[in-house]
Amino acid sequence: MSSVDLLLPLLIAVPILAATLPIALGLWVDRTGWPVAALTTSALFAGAIALASVVSTRGEAVTHTLGDYPRTYGIELVADQFSILIVLLVTAVATGVLVYTRQGGPRGNTFYTAYLLLTAGLLGISLTGDVFNLFVFLEITSLATYALVASGDGPEAAVASLKYLILGTIAASMYLIGVAFVFMATGTLNMLELAEAIPGAESQTLLHTGVAFIVVGFAVKVAQWPLHTWQPSAYQQAPDGVTPLIAALVSTASAYAFGRLLVTVFGVEYLTAMPNAAAVVLTIGCVSVLAGTILAVIQTEVKRMLAYSSVSQFGLVIAAYGVVIAGSSETAFIGAAIHLVGHGLVKAGLFLGVALVARSYDARTVDEYAGLAKSRPIVAGAIAVLLLSLVGVPPGVGFVGKWYIALGAVQSELWPVAAVIFLSTMLTLAYAARLLEKMYFTPPARADPLHAPAPVATDGGNAGSDESDAEPTRDEPGAAIAAIRGDRSAAPVSTGMVAIVVLAAIGAVALGFSGGTIAELLDPFLTKVIN
């Protein structure tokens, strides 16, 4: 037995300890936050890769019991094939987003403290094997997120953050009530022990109540319609450098935790036998898919549009869980896992791209994206690839995830779910295509020097004749437009920022090709929990 299991507590403890450094060192030296955060997240990423290679070669979970207390009442950390995927995503995105924040801000040591605490909380959610510990890590994550959202400019950020805080706390408390009921019925909090104790527990009513509370709690945390109301304003008001992190990871980790509870703790067989469980989860998922996409289509702000798109994409994941419960479908579960990771990566890339565009091109609404492809060909190209991947155009990762989920639904003969997935793809195309059309086929309608710097919705249709005016901007992009528009917010963009968006786009496509690898990786886990 090697000491590889020590990696598990280290992955959680190191960022928490490192989170104190920016503040402590900040007493003497300014600007220590970024180096500390960069060093820590890179180390975490390396640790995650090492852990992943051990888990995949060994083919079984790596566990670590904290303080050597027996797991019935102690806390156990577990890294298995499912959690390692999320750990890799969390560490990779946390490292990647730092490339943007170096110049793009927000700055300040306290920001990086919250950043590291958030990373620690997310890793904790992925690695814990204890249902109460999961609550604590959910709250650590949420607290750091509230602070990060509130660090946005302007008072609107505080309002958005408070809304998120109240809803998020109630949701976490709902989960805690669920845990209380489950604990009452079984007397243990360890996930594996619960899995053994639940099917034979005396009072099934307590367990059913617990499941109900847990489902509602996570429906809020994962931002499922109609409980999603905190999410769009939180994403929109958060600083541009923070949104990629939050959008890619926070709800993803919650969705992971929900899946973990469903398949590992309660078990597919148990939930299948439970009346209405599958129907409720399926309905929540499918309704969110449709409502989220429709709301996304009618948005004018790009950040808000992508936020609503998250509602629908997580709806797909929840619907996939529903398929897993209803049809014991391994395929749907693989789809959910791939879609979780793929959506996280795509959204991180998209929000980074949006932040970049807002910074250098001062465009925040869909209409303002007109002509982006000409002045910023690389970024526009990366955003286009990511958008197409989100829609589910092969070989993007969105396609693989949706394919597995739809295949699972068809195998389980859940035709409405398959129809919803198909319909949502069409609707996703509706809002993605709107942005693509603006970027590539609408010339910029802003050669007018009197154009007000305030975001006025410009009508792309009238600008059709401006082709000749738009030509010069091709030679000196960005700077020329910023000079013409006379706005001060156009800031320099480093090569690293562009590179990270491109990297996310490449990653989204590469992940699309590795769907089979992920399915293989998950195979031992699935054979254990399903059948």
Partner: protein
Amino acid sequence: MIESLFSHYTYVLVFVLLGLGIYMVIASKNLVKKLIGVNLFQTAIFLFFISMAYIDAEDASAPIVPKDGVPLKVMVASPLPQVIVLTAIVVGIALTAVGLALIIRIYAEYGTLREDTLREVRADE
């Protein structure tokens, strides 16, 4: 039914408290009162954990007391839920602190703590 309600009166109280808390969050227009409602909601959960920790068992004993020394027919408190509540209280305090900090910032910017006034002020801007 009535009898079981009387014998489990703590649970009834806990769920009344839960209802009060969430009602405050929904119905109160004042942001601070909303936060107090959240606190009430959480406190009810803490009490729920505490009240279910008592095990009316004949062969159980608190871990620090040797089993032989315990007379029969006592209520024994399982220490695990107590530890959970302790942790959850700390989490709750942190949440309250962050929430109050946000409310202070909102008040400094908009000069109001009322939700409806806040909505009007924000709509005007």
